[in-house]
Symmetry: C2
Subunit: 244 residues, 2 copies
Amino acid sequence: MPRSARSNPLALAVLVSLYERPMHPYEVAQTLRSRAKQESVRLNYGSLYAVVDSLEKRGFIRAGETVREGRRPERTVYEITDEGVRELTDWLTELVAVPAKEYPHFMVALSFLPALATDDALEAMRSRALALEIRLTQLRAALRAGDEYGLPRLFELEGEYEEKLLEAELDFVRVLIKEIDDGSLDGIEHWRSFYAPASAAMPALPEGADMVDGVALPEEAELPEEAAAAEKAAAAEEVADSDR
Amino acid sequence: MPRSARSNPLALAVLVSLYERPMHPYEVAQTLRSRAKQESVRLNYGSLYAVVDSLEKRGFIRAGETVREGRRPERTVYEITDEGVRELTDWLTELVAVPAKEYPHFMVALSFLPALATDDALEAMRSRALALEIRLTQLRAALRAGDEYGLPRLFELEGEYEEKLLEAELDFVRVLIKEIDDGSLDGIEHWRSFYAPASAAMPALPEGADMVDGVALPEEAELPEEAAAAEKAAAAEEVADSDR
DNA sequence: GTCAGGACACTCTGAATAGAATATCCTGAC
DNA sequence: GTCAGGATATTCTATTCAGAGTGTCCTGAC
């Protein structure tokens, strides 16, 4: 089987749509849009047709009649096969049961935050907090609107999940802002000393610092400690991590 | 400028590394690994060299000497340029300030959850809860290990952020499990009636149901309501969404 | 009557991966 | 002494995918 299996969630969306009834690809897109699924699945036509082809090649869907109305481009109607139904069930079950490793953009940002000047970081964090508040307000409005029109919560689970994630992130950002602002963040003196003046070149690490190897460093060592400790932490993680 | 600008976070990681000191690509990878950055940035060699080439083409980094040691493959050492430093700062600031739209896998799963039989969904959710607990335990152990080796919290922000997200998700999943289990989830009768027997074909929507257009539906309408209400919710969202 | 603009239904293209493959060197086991 | 296996450092290749492009039809404005 091609390594591509189960990479693009759009393929799952297609399977679910065709599970409901046969459709042509463009119609699948319409349906997904009408149910606001483009909020949870990246949807664009370039990928849609590629994904449909791949599903067909793998035998999960089958092309039925191709209809031509007037002289518009032909529409090929697809239907799901029995293997397709099985794939759908398996994939969805796996998606629910097994948390996947993800790489949120903000995690990357946090991970390199000390490369920014403290003040710039603080300002950017404040922008983020504001943006998150706005997004939360919009999302809650949308959820309330859904309720009022009688949409059962069962069909708004994605939205509620996003709400919880946003709330958690907003809390985190607010605490972080406060800790940077009042200087209570552990390690901040470190940060200030390196980046306070301007964003001049960063001082190079002492030669060989990242090769430290179990050697106890003097207390209050400058930077090398970062590398060493991170190494240990990574090692500790690896031990616990052997399953996933 | 190529559309590729700022797509792959690995490029940011490379910039930050070279901001510290000039290195050859493989060394960048080592450094990132030694600091456990592969937890927050997807790192693999195929992408690394592509990203380095692209950064060079765009003038953000410059190839220095190429050293050959023994008869091992040549190593090309790169250094960051002034524009590179600017790009690094801008990109990182944007990453912090502007929350990006993301598509977590679990959100996809939730969004198609009703396509699974209720019992299967419940079982899968329980697996997930367990996996999340394990992951949380590991993560907390790693964070504690970092602390004990003297790594300031400033350098563990990614980890703390992940912890908060995991906690939020676990809460959400636990509540959901309970609500499915005791039948208190709004809309669950709906779900049961469609998928309870087996995973037979889903009944087709009444013809034209997804074209309803402002027409008030009879109270307690069967399925059409889903489509209609979702449409409204989507519309409401769009109004509020006009900026992003 | 025609013309603009949007919906319809795809198709094309080039950049961007991810995973595997390559080739050398080093280390320790037997 | 040699041979397996891991580290070093990079290149290759088949997909995948996002964005933009294409051509047709329909509707309403003037």
